[in-house]
């Protein structure tokens, strides 16, 4: 089973869960959910950051790689990737969220993103359980060939380089969520029928 633990209750309807995931992916691809506030918080908005804030190739699974997975593998990969994003966010926020989120809108937005991501992971858990209950043949298909952890290099030395790293990371994350939304959009209606 997935390593995630359900936080909320699960809808028993495949269509509802799929719809929610599609909606959440759509929301999460907007850079104003994470990247834009991050750039402002880090003071990168005063620089020509766009040139230096490009996604690091291979950091997140590409659309084709996602499309090539079984639904189970896709959900596993999505869940693992979001787990790493949460880890990265937690490392960045540390206790700043508690100190500043009420005073600074960007910090507030950034701190809320964590809840959104947990919500997506909860739906992933529910959908996976639903697929499992329906004896989906895909349950034990392989997942994304990428390593369990993203191929993210050790953080660069120096605070400024780490700021740029974070910018690249979130750029990749939003692109990844865009790809997730597109792949989810191609999923068939019913839970038991295989995807193609």
């Amino acid at each position: 089973l997935l390593s995630t633990v359900a936080m909320g209750s699960c809808s028993g309807k495949y269509q509802v869960l799929l719809g929610q995931l599609q909606q959440q992916a759509k929301i999460m691809q907007n850079t104003d959910m994470l990247l834009d506030p991050y750039i402002r918080i880090q003071g990168l908005d005063k620089l020509n950051h766009k040139e230096y804030c490009k996604e690091r190739p291979g950091a997140f699974p590409g659309k084709d790689a996602l499309r090539g997975l079984s639904r189970w593998g896709f959900l596993q990969t999505l869940n693992a990737t979001l787990g790493l994003v949460l880890h990265r966010l937690a490392a960045f926020q540390q206790k700043v969220c508690n100190l500043t989120k009420d005073k600074d809108q960007d910090w507030k937005t950034l701190c809320q993103a964590e809840l959104y991501i947990r919500g997506i992971r909860n739906n992933i858990f529910c959908l996976t359980r639903l697929l499992n209950l329906n004896g989906s043949s895909e349950v034990f298909a392989p997942t994304w060939a990428g390593p369990r952890t993203l191929p993210w290099p050790t953080p660069s030395p120096g605070a400024f380089n780490r700021k740029i790293d974070g910018c690249k990371f979130l750029q990749g994350y939003h692109r990844f969520m865009h790809s997730v939304g597109q792949v989810l959009g191609e999923w068939e209606e019913g839970p038991s029928r295989t995807r193609r």
């Binding site: 918080i41 990168l44 005063k46 540390q94 100190l99 500043t100 605070a159 380089n161």
Partner: protein
Amino acid sequence: PGSSMTSRDRPLDRSLYGSTTLRAPAPRAAALLRLRGFHSCYRSEKTNTKIPALLPGDHEISINPLHGSRSSISRFILNEENISLIPDTPEILNLSADFSTSTIHIKWNDKGSVFPHHSDVIWQIKILRKKKMEIVTLMTHNTTLNGKDTVHQWSWTSDMPLECVTHFVRMRCYVDDLHFSGHKEWSDWSPVKNISWSPDYQPKVIPKDKVILVGSDITVCCIIQEKVISAQFGKEMCSLIHLDGENVAIKIYNVSVSPTSGTNVVFTTDTNMVGTVIFAGYPPDIPQKLNCETRDLKEIICTWNPGRPTGLLGPHDTNYTLFENFSGQNVKRAEDTTNVNYQLFFQMIPNREIYNFTLKAHNPLGQSESTVLVNITERVYPHTPTSFKVKDINSTAVTLSWHLPGSFAKINLLCQIEITKSNSVQELQNVTVKGLENSSYLITVGKLSPYTNYTFRIRCSTETFWKWSSWTIEKQHLTTEAIPSKGPDT
């Protein structure tokens, strides 16, 4: 043709080290120098020679060329006043650098042992930068010769990181010998010495992630192989100070407090952007309203107000350590705590009532502390009593019972009962009970009216009052009916 030597034309150098050098202005072949009165002769192949220091008074000097006619003998009277005191060139023994603080340390020996008596010495130290050796600063340092060799050390902190550009040092000295009546001059400058380090050719910005005090000035430099087009400090564009090669620097004055993520300093070239972050903040304020109390006489809770925000968070945040000075024990506030309350917990020491706490606050810019001495039995702020119950004894008396966690066996508790009769008359009764260990307590309340609605609630403190606990939840209670005073009127 001899050159007439007048003492004015031919300054004699009375070296710091007790010898006199005679110099002739024009190049001369070998010469023989004779001091009348001392019957000493000195042969020299050069146009100068060193002779032992002369005693005060007049001395007749004659210079005889070894080759050439006797007619070109020069004679003159020499007095100390004709002599220039020119100290020997000082020698820098050791030049070292602390790159983290951009500080240069210079050591030299004043060779005071060769100087006859105490004298004030002025040392001039010149700092130069860049291969073009531009003068950065010229400073003086005063010492006193005391008849023995003394090694002096002097430090200078550069406004620019030492890795940004090569720094050179040289020095000279001036001996202000009050006993010497002649002319005194500066020594020659010492040979130049430079600070060396092993540059790597990766583009980088220095200092990296520096924490500075709000209001200070800072120089940030970029070590790079390609041409820097612009430099930015936060929003401000800065003018470039050109160093050696393509390296550049910017100087920022009176830096204001940084946002939580620090202020970016970025240098941009055609193909690259390199940067660092400067964190401008304050040292920790003296912790205010330091208060230590206990809820249960087992654990002490110290709370405080951090005072002025430092502007520094994350790894540069203020860390707090609570020291108990009698026992030497201390507790630290967890670094990665997401808990923003300013409090620390200290386990009470058995049979100890008096505690002398010092709370130390520290961040990269400094530290501060507050202290408080408490008798902890006088600082009890009990938990809210729980399991509060009301039971009838009879129609005019009830028992109230409650539980209070805590080790109160050695003190008396003061509890207050609020009795509200039928939502109108309210009465407060104070009662002292013997403290117990994690126990329940029971008291009786009498003089109630039979068959009447009462609301009870209770709170506790200690006999040596500090703070009331919170009130318990209210308990509604209807007293029982009284026994009829006479039978029914049948």
